[in-house]
């Protein structure tokens, strides 16, 4: 009995604290299991961040040094004490430099602060729809707005490409995100899969594809692009390689992992259709890591039913937030968060 009273007192203390936090708008205090390990990971992350930043500043100064070193090696050139002057010499006097080796993006652990959320379709572009008249544009907007609320609660900044049922070209969506200086771009869609028994989630990043299914899907999603063929060719050349694509793939893997893990828990029939590369124009027009995620499929009767339920849409939004949060953890030097999300832990 004394034990029950003691537990009750402790529970009441915690409960009151939880409610006081709620009144003051403070985030709930989370208990952590195995906290010493987590603390070590955090310290390691901070150390990594310091080393990386220190290393990058060393890298920048090292990039300036070959000129002086080259000048010093030239017969008759001034000694080390004159290095500053040599570095300031006109460009024409310098020997040509070899192109720098590609730099691993992990060297620059830039923080993810601002998320651009794009609710797919809108206005006259309804997207897919169910026989009952439920439209993709409405579902994507609802999920996007839920995601916005969740992310704001996690102290991210959020920009929405649309908040209402307006027409917006794919190019405009990318431009809005670019103008806002977003760090990542997440476009939300609902799929239509030919095999109507299939209940799958899949996530795309920008890249070429030979898959006829993906080509058809990209054609369908690109219908309202606002780009000319010449624009597209130019953009494709600009974007198909490089760090941004790697980051986009990483973001896609992390979000897909979180999405499948969360929805798979609710319905074991949900299949992981994986991360794929495809030429979606909405991804092409952005200047930051960008993904397009098909969070559900209208073609499946059960998914279409579930999508009418606010709670299911909330789960999807929270799963997306979990993936974004995990990706932000990676960029900020906490790879274990993303690894956990990908593995579905």
């Amino acid at each position: 009995m004394a034990n029950v009273d003691r537990i009750k007192r402790q529970l009441l203390r915690d409960l009151v604290q939880q409610n006081v936090d709620l009144i003051h708008g403070r985030a709930p205090r989370r208990r952590r299991r195995g906290s010493p390990w987590r603390l070590m990971v955090r310290l390691a992350s901070l150390t990594f961040l310091s080393v990386a930043l220190f290393g990058s500043s060393r890298l920048i100064s090292t990039l300036g040094e070959p000129r002086a070193a080259g000048a010093a090696a030239t017969p008759g050139a001034p000694g080390p004490s004159s290095a500053g002057k040599a570095a300031a010499a006109p460009q024409a006097d310098r020997p040509p430099l070899a192109p720098p080796d590609p730099v691993d993006a992990a060297v620059f652990p830039l923080a993810v602060r601002k998320i651009a959320i794009d609710a797919g379709h809108g206005g006259g572009s309804t997207g897919t729809r169910t026989p009952d008249g439920l439209m993709e544009k409405d579902i994507t907007l609802d999920i996007a707005q839920r995601l916005q609320r969740v992310l704001l609660g996690q102290s991210f900044q959020v920009m929405m490409t649309r908040q209402g049922d307006g027409d917006l070209s794919l190019e405009q969506r990318g431009n809005l995100a670019n103008k806002a200086g977003a760090d990542i771009f997440v476009s939300i869609h609902v799929n239509w899969i030919e095999n109507r028994r299939s209940r799958g989630v899949e996530t795309y990043y920008l890249g070429p594809t030979d898959d006829p299914y993906l080509t058809r899907l990209a054609h369908s999603e690109n219908r309202d692009s606002g780009y000319s063929l010449a624009d597209m060719r130019h953009l494709l050349d600009r974007i198909y390689a490089g760090v941004r694509q790697d980051k986009s793939r990483r973001l896609a893997e992390t979000v897909q992992g979180a999405l499948f893990q969360s929805l798979g828990k609710l319905s074991p029939e949900v299949e992981n259709r994986g991360v794929k590369a495809a030429p979606f124009i909405v991804l092409l027009s952005t200047e930051m890591p960008a993904i397009l995620t098909e969070v559900s499929s209208f073609s499946n009767e059960e998914e279409a039913r579930l999508l009418t339920k606010p709670l299911y849409r909330q789960y999807i939004a929270e799963a997306l937030a979990k993936g974004i949060h995990a990706y932000a953890g990676v960029v900020e030097g906490a790879p274990e968060a993303a690894a956990a999300a990908e593995k579905g832990i």
Binding site: L12, L266, L311
Partner: protein, 343 residues
């Protein structure tokens, strides 16, 4: 009169389907969680009320803008009308235990309000905003926690609270349940109603019935496993009241929630620390209106045999177990804590 005598503690269970109140003045009441506003001037003249609550709202639904504000365990986002509906529901419950809306009869009302776990997790600020004006001090708790507190099932216990909108799982291990100790499924009473509606329509396409009739049929005759008696209901066919045997449909609809229910129960159990798993298996508590489905407790016990066996107990008074738990919390919380929670 001392300050202490002027305090009224209440525990409120704000459910998707039904809401109940238990008060320190000994009164307990339950209403169906429907709130409706007359659709137009004509409806207002007929109904002679600005707002209708509970059964009265349901019975006059054709003339009302009817809301069930905690559909699927959540206050609908951005819906001021649903927030207003929650407020009206709360005021109505308080009036049933003798609290006047304007003067509050000079008493200090301290309320513990239990809401579906999902509402607490997802839109707790909205819940607080909707409720805080009605009382002097307010504490919001998750429904399964209120149930556990009321039953003093605080250690090595699993609460499975099957309501209308959601099924909430909560493992109690002597501390406030964290996210990993809880689960929520959308397969609950409303899901069964939808299944029963569909199956009955398929079997008896000529019969006319509404979801409200189906809900009543379920409350009368729900079961899993073997039926005690055939489930026979009455519905109009070509305008004539006709008896329909829906025994198979009832079984199929009720058993449709079993796979996710069993899977979540076993999954949550597997995450309990190994040395306590047996204790928790022996202390599974089934609460909520839908938890009363005949044969559900034994069926879950049968599923537990696969992991070493266990005991499932169905609460005796599922209508008031949540609000009684809230009242117990309200009464146990010291005055100093209540001062911090002034609304």
């Amino acid at each position: 009169m001392s300050e202490k005598k002027q305090v009224l503690h209440v525990g409120i269970d704000l459910g998707t389907s039904r809401s109940s109140i238990s008060s320190s003045n000994g009164q307990r009441h339950v209403v169906e969680s429907y709130v409706g506003w007359p659709l137009d001037m004509v409806a207002r003249k007929v109904l002679k009320k600005e707002v209708l609550i509970g059964r009265e709202a349901l019975e006059n639904r054709s003339m009302l803008d009817l809301h069930r504000p905690l559909e699927e365990g959540l206050i609908k986002d951005g819906s001021e009308k649903d927030e207003a509906a929650v407020r009206e529901l709360l005021w109505h419950l308080l009036s049933l235990v003798g609290v006047d809306r304007e003067s509050r009869n000079g008493v200090k009302v301290r309320a513990v309000v239990g809401v579906p776990a999902e509402a607490l997790r997802v839109n707790k600020q909205q819940v607080r905003k909707a409720l805080h004006d009605a009382v002097d001090s307010l504490m919001i708790v998750s429904e399964p926690f209120a149930v556990a507190y009321g039953l003093e099932a605080l250690l090595h216990t699993m609460i499975i609270d099957i309501g209308a909108g959601t099924t909430d799982f909560c493992v109690m291990n002597g501390r406030l349940p964290a996210e990993e100790d809880q689960r929520t499924l959308t397969q609950a009473g409303d899901f069964i109603d939808e299944q029963l509606m569909r199956l009955t329509r398929e079997r008896h396409p000529e019969a006319k019935f509404s979801i409200h009739m189906v809900r009543n049929w379920k409350e009368e005759g729900s079961f899993v496993g073997q039926p005690k008696n055939p489930v026979v209901v009455t519905a109009p066919v070509n305008g004539r009241p006709t008896q329909l045997d829906i025994t198979q449909e009832m079984r199929q609809a009720c058993e449709s929630i079993l796979p996710p229910l069993v899977e979540s129960m076993l999954d949550l159990l597997s995450r309990v620390q190994p040395e306590y798993q047996e204790k928790v298996r022996g202390n599974v508590v089934l609460s909520g209106g839908t938890g009363l489905i005949r044969g559900l407790g034994p069926r879950l016990e049968q599923e537990l045999t696969a992991v070493g066996g266990g005991k499932v107990r169905v609460v005796k008074d599922p209508i008031f177990v949540g609000s009684d738990g809230g009242l117990a919390i309200a009464a146990d919380a010291p005055d100093t804590d209540w001062e911090k929670l002034s609304a």
